[in-house]
């Protein structure tokens, strides 16, 4: 399946090279400002173009990896391959990344020291895309680790008041998680080598490894430690309120919108493929943690008077939903989880961008300090309403589709967890509406009346997100058509390995019940 154009390698290389150019050339004079901005924007748009090209080139009904490129990377001694591929699960995360980064670069236009800022941003984009595309575990690990360095410097360099503390906390938590991931990867490769006689880190061959129950569980825990911190899943989330709040606004957009998805993506791609049995064994514990995360995130979000922290905790709840659908091991649940990754990325990205707009105008995120913004900034209020409704899960917007799939998929296999998780949906409506009321309703004070509405550029930034949010809510079929083959294939792999099938209703619908 080799293609003439190495799309996937280019997807990673374009932003990486642009980052290197921006980082190493000393374009620091004032006249160079526009040039650096143009270069960064161009690179991110070119990446978006390639991502769309990948979507077009991909076959819709093929559930396997497509556009595969596989090259020897370290020689036979270590057996690492530059092995990239894309399937229905990863393609939309790639697109999400490619959409959010140009927006982040547009928004970061006036940052101090923009050249370096853009360089870090583009390096971050390259590493995130690399994480979603690499099918060699060592290359994945390298990309996974590489995301840390630029995000660390973005938080520490351009963040708010307590950025140094938040950046270090973020770095150490994630790095500690990935330490176990590396040991897990190497141990798995070793077990595979002892069984098959050759050394490889490629996902496909490693999926054939026979693991005893204990081995599987230990390896699963080592992998999941890294992913759960990154996602973040309860109770390993404690770095995220600090990091998301202290990061610059565009940093929060990509951190929560895209980087967090590497964690949940890792669970789907690696945990489910490599350790299906262990996933089954530990499912009750993980589902419980996911549900606790949903409820806890929602309740804590209710108590926030700070918009950024509120969105952070709502994000924790949403990640809980993704994990719930994933671990439920049913077709609907997993498809819903994958779709929710995309939807949540769009919604939380839009929310953080809007909060950034509010912060630019008012210099605060405290809900108590704003009132009646609706009057002075009707467009902003309207956009906020749409995004908020999508986050709550109102039918017709994208959040509903994925949450519904997740909950129904979970209900089929793990009924009571789904029942409790529904609480999270209700509470989400409460905290988001409260926050909205406080900020946008009521009689405006003097400062509120002077708040500017969204400018033309700001509307242009929000437009693609709003369009996608509505489109995916009304007509999710094109996306689900591409997600489903891969999801079916993965679920089939899990079922054949564990010897345990989901109830027939999940596959045949009502027919299965009769």
């Amino acid at each position: 399946m080799r293609h003439e154009v190495p799309f996937l390698t280019l997807l990673i290389l374009i932003p990486a090279i642009a980052a290197a150019v921006l980082g190493l050339l000393g374009l620091d004079r004032r006249m160079h400002r526009e040039l650096t901005y143009a270069l960064a924007l161009l690179a991110s748009l070119a990446t978006l173009g390639f991502a769309i090209a990948v979507l077009v080139v991909m076959k819709v009904s093929d559930g396997g990896f497509q556009l595969v490129s596989d090259h020897d990377y370290t020689g036979t001694a270590l057996g690492v391959h530059w092995y990239l591929g894309v399937d229905g699960i990863s393609i939309f995360l790639v697109l999400l990344t490619a959409v959010l980064f140009p927006l982040a670069i547009i928004l970061g236009r006036n940052r101090e020291n923009a050249r370096v800022y853009f360089a870090w941003m583009l390096l971050l984009e390259a590493s995130v895309l690399g994480s979603f595309l690499s099918l060699d575990l060592i290359v994945f690990f390298f990309m996974f680790e590489l995301t840390l360095v630029p995000s660390y410097f973005i938080i520490a360099g351009w963040g708010h008041q307590r950025r140094a503390y938040a950046a270090i906390k973020f770095f150490l938590y994630t790095f500690l998680g990935s330490a176990f991931l590396l040991v897990g990867i190497l141990a798995l490769a070793f077990i595979h080598q002892s069984q098959f006689g050759y050394l490889t880190f490629s996902l496909g061959p490693l999926m054939q490894t026979h693991l005893t129950g204990t081995q599987g569980v230990l390896l699963f825990l080592a992998f999941t430690a890294a992913f759960a911190v990154k996602a973040p899943l309860f109770p390993l989330h404690t770095w995220s309120p600090d990091a998301y709040t202290e990061a610059p606004e565009e940093g929060s957009v990509v951190l929560s919108g895209v980087l967090a998805k590497i964690g949940t993506y890792g669970i789907i791609r690696f945990d489910l493929s490599l350790f299906p049995q262990a996933t089954r064994t530990l499912a009750p514990i993980l589902l419980t943690l996911a549900v606790i995360g949903i409820v806890y995130g929602a309740i804590v979000a209710c108590a926030q008077r700070d918009l950024k922290r509120l969105v952070t905790y709502s994000s924790l709840a949403q990640i809980g939903f993704i994990a719930l659908g994933t671990i439920a091991l049913s077709t609907q649940g997993l498809a819903g989880g994958v779709l929710l990754m995309l939807n949540h990325g769009l919604i939380v990205g839009a929310l953080f961008i809007l909060i950034g707009f509010i912060y630019q105008r008012r210099g605060t995120w405290q809900t108590g300090e704003m009132r009646g913004l609706q009057k002075a900034a009707p467009v902003m209020a309207g956009v906020f309403t749409v995004v908020m409704m999508a986050s709550i899960g109102v039918p017709g917007l994208n959040g509903f589709v994925s949450e519904f799939l997740v909950l129904s998929g979970t209900f089929i296999t793990h009924r009571w967890w789904a029942v409790v998780a529904v609480l999270g949906v209700i509470v989400a409506a409460i905290y988001l509406l409260w926050a909205y009321q406080q900020v946008f309703h009521g009689p405006p004070r003097e400062a509120d009346e002077k708040t500017r509405d969204l400018g033309l550029l700001e509307r242009a930034v929000m437009a693609p997100l709003i369009i996608l949010i509505v489109f995916l809510g009304v007509y999710p079929k094109p996306v689900l058509d591409r997600i489903n083959p891969s999801v079916n294939q993965l679920i089939a792999h899990v079922e054949s390995t564990t010897g345990h099938s989901q109830p027939p209703v999940a596959v045949k619908g009502v027919e299965g019940v009769k």
């Binding site: 020689g75 270590l78 101090e112 008041q161 503390y165 770095f171 141990a187 109770p235």
Partner: protein
């Protein structure tokens, strides 16, 4: 050297029969020693002290020559295979050639770095270069030795020159103190090592590694107390040289006290030589009794990893911090030794090479930033470096991140390989411990990076676009950040809606975090240091080290294959 060889290998024979000598096998150290002697002779014949530039050029040529000969050796080994020469006293195999090349490169880079240092400190004459070359030849000798006596010879040549180099800058009291400490402890360790040789000789009847292996494979030693004692003493001697805990006591003081270029040289070359000899002794001679030494090395590795990483957290002096980090690195390399497999040796070789580049590069930067007197090494002096000297700060950040194990640098490939080697023999817990200490270590490397990229002096304008540097933090870092960090409790209270109190462990980490950051913050420099001039040769050395670290991080195949190939040609297997 040859006289000693003869004396050691033919003590028993009445008539001295000169063994056939394969000159190529011992040419690199001969070049270094010969070059050093000639340089010393020239320096003593001319009336004034030799110019620094002249000795630098001579050293570059000589070490380049040694490197060239090593390439010749390599082709010979590839063509004719690995052999022992001179009555099995030395061996020329891929392994020895690898270390020889490494040491020659280290010498070359050190000469580049030292040039600027010697000019700055106003030290003339060729002594520095002579001593360094002699020391390097000792390390080469250790790598090629196939006899415990030759190893001891190499060890002493390496060490005695290093003792003098440590005290080289006689204007600094710290250097003298460090040298004395190094000398006394080093003398002890040498004595222990020699005693180990004696006991081993007593137990096996030979000092030759091949013959020891032969003896051990043919005989079952029923009461092996003597052998084990000898082995333990040998290990202690090696552990001292590679700075493994609990034989590390000298390291921080000596690394701190020695002139900075010497520290880089010492870290790279002494480790390379000692690890090479250690690997050869353990595998060639004592491979049969690996169950006896493996637990000891395992213990050394764990202690070095943990202590090196955790104690480094508390250091305020960059050189001391790098000293503890070198202890941590030694622990990582010991992982390859513990594995005791082909993969382990190959991984250790790769790690030594990667570490050589990273550490010489780091100490080159430390040398440059040390300013006249070589004493400006406090962490606070690195604050805002990125603004004053963006390129230097970037290079240092890259080297530190590489040491921490950042992806796409040789640092992480090295760590991946040694950890895999350990896991390969089932030492999964050791691998996990190593990676966790890498996280701790990442913290102190990052601390320096943060300081370099944080704001400079007080009162700088916020949002100034004129800053030439890379990342720059506006001044609320120093003001607001200070208040914020000084009152963590108050701030927590302010954001008290965060219901979930983090787990105990995380809050402990947080507390340490805040204390250390607070210390960094309070240490705000009273005056903005002037930018330092970076000598051309030093910048070449820094560029070479940083470039190689990144280049071979992105393109790992050549170096990994090289280390692998060198190990394939390891003799005896």
């Amino acid at each position: 050297v040859i006289a000693t060889l003869l004396a050691t290998t033919h003590t028993a024979s009445d008539t001295i029969a000169v063994p056939p000598i394969r000159w190529l096998a011992i040419l690199p150290p001969i070049i270094l020693i010969g070059g050093a002697v000639v340089l010393l002779g020239v320096a003593s014949l001319v009336r004034r002290p030799l110019r620094v530039g002249l000795s630098t050029v001579a050293t570059l040529v000589i070490s380049g020559g040694a490197f060239g000969v090593a390439i010749w050796q390599w082709t010979d080994v590839v063509e004719h295979g690995a052999h022992t020469y001179i009555k099995q006293a030395v061996v020329m195999d891929g392994f020895s050639v690898f270390i020889t090349m490494l040491v020659a490169m280290a010498m070359f880079l050190t000469a580049l770095v030292a040039d600027g240092y010697l000019r700055r400190e106003g030290v003339h004459g060729a002594e520095f270069h002579v001593l360094a070359m002699v020391s390097a030849s000792g390390a080469m000798l250790m790598a090629m030795a196939n006899d415990l006596i030759i190893i001891f010879l190499g060890l002493e040549i390496l060490s005695i020159a290093l003792y003098v180099l440590t005290a080289f800058n006689y204007r600094r009291a710290a250097s003298g103190e460090a040298a004395l400490k190094y000398f006394i402890l080093g003398g002890f360790s040498s004595a222990i090592f020699v005693y180990g040789i004696a006991l081993t000789y007593g137990a096996t009847g030979s000092t030759n590694l091949t013959q020891i292996a032969d003896f051990l494979s043919k005989n079952v030693v029923l009461s092996n107390g003597l052998l084990l004692a000898g082995l333990a003493l040998l290990l202690a001697g090696f552990a001292f040289k590679v700075a493994a805990v609990p034989f590390h006591m000298w390291t921080p003081d000596v690394y701190q006290g020695a002139p900075s270029p010497v520290t880089g040289f010492m870290a790279a070359v002494a480790k390379a030589g000692a690890f090479a000899a250690m690997l050869r002794v353990l595998f060639s001679a004592f491979g049969v009794v690996s169950t006896d030494w493996r637990p000891i090395v395992y213990g050394l590795a764990v202690l070095s990893l943990v202590l090196g990483a955790f104690v480094a957290l508390r250091q305020r002096d960059v050189k001391r911090m790098l000293a503890y980090s070198s202890i941590n690195h030694a622990g990582f390399i010991l992982l390859g030794v513990v594995a005791g497999t082909f993969r382990g040796v190959s991984a250790a070789l790769y790690y030594l090479l990667a570490y050589m580049l990273m550490t010489i590069g780091s100490f080159a930067i430390v040398t440059v930033l040390g300013r006249a007197g070589d004493s400006d090494h406090d962490l606070s002096r690195y604050r805002g470096l990125a603004r004053r000297q963006p390129v230097l700060a970037l290079a240092f950040a890259v080297l530190l991140l590489a040491q921490a194990g950042a992806p796409f640098t040789t640092g992480l490939w090295a760590k991946v390989q040694v950890v895999f080697a350990a896991i390969d023999v089932g030492a999964v817990p050791l691998g996990a411990i190593a990676m966790v200490t890498a996280v701790v270590a990442a913290y102190f490397y990052l601390r320096v990076a943060v300081l370099m990229y944080s704001g400079g002096g007080l009162g700088e304008p916020e949002g100034g676009t004129t800053g030439s540097g890379a990342l720059s933090l506006p001044s609320d870092m120093t003001a607001g950040g200070l208040i914020g960090l000084a009152q963590p409790a108050a701030l927590e209270a302010a954001t008290a809606q965060d219901w979930g109190s983090p787990a105990a462990a995380s809050s402990a980490v947080t507390t340490i975090n805040q204390q250390i950051l607070l210390a960094d913050e309070q240490e705000s420099a009273p005056s903005e240091p002037e930018p330092v001039d970076v000598p051309v040769l030093s910048s070449i050395a820094i560029g070479l080290c940083t470039g190689a670290t990144v280049l071979f991080g992105f393109w790992p195949e050549p170096l990994i294959n090289f280390a692998n190939h060198a190990t394939l040609l390891f003799l005896p297997k």
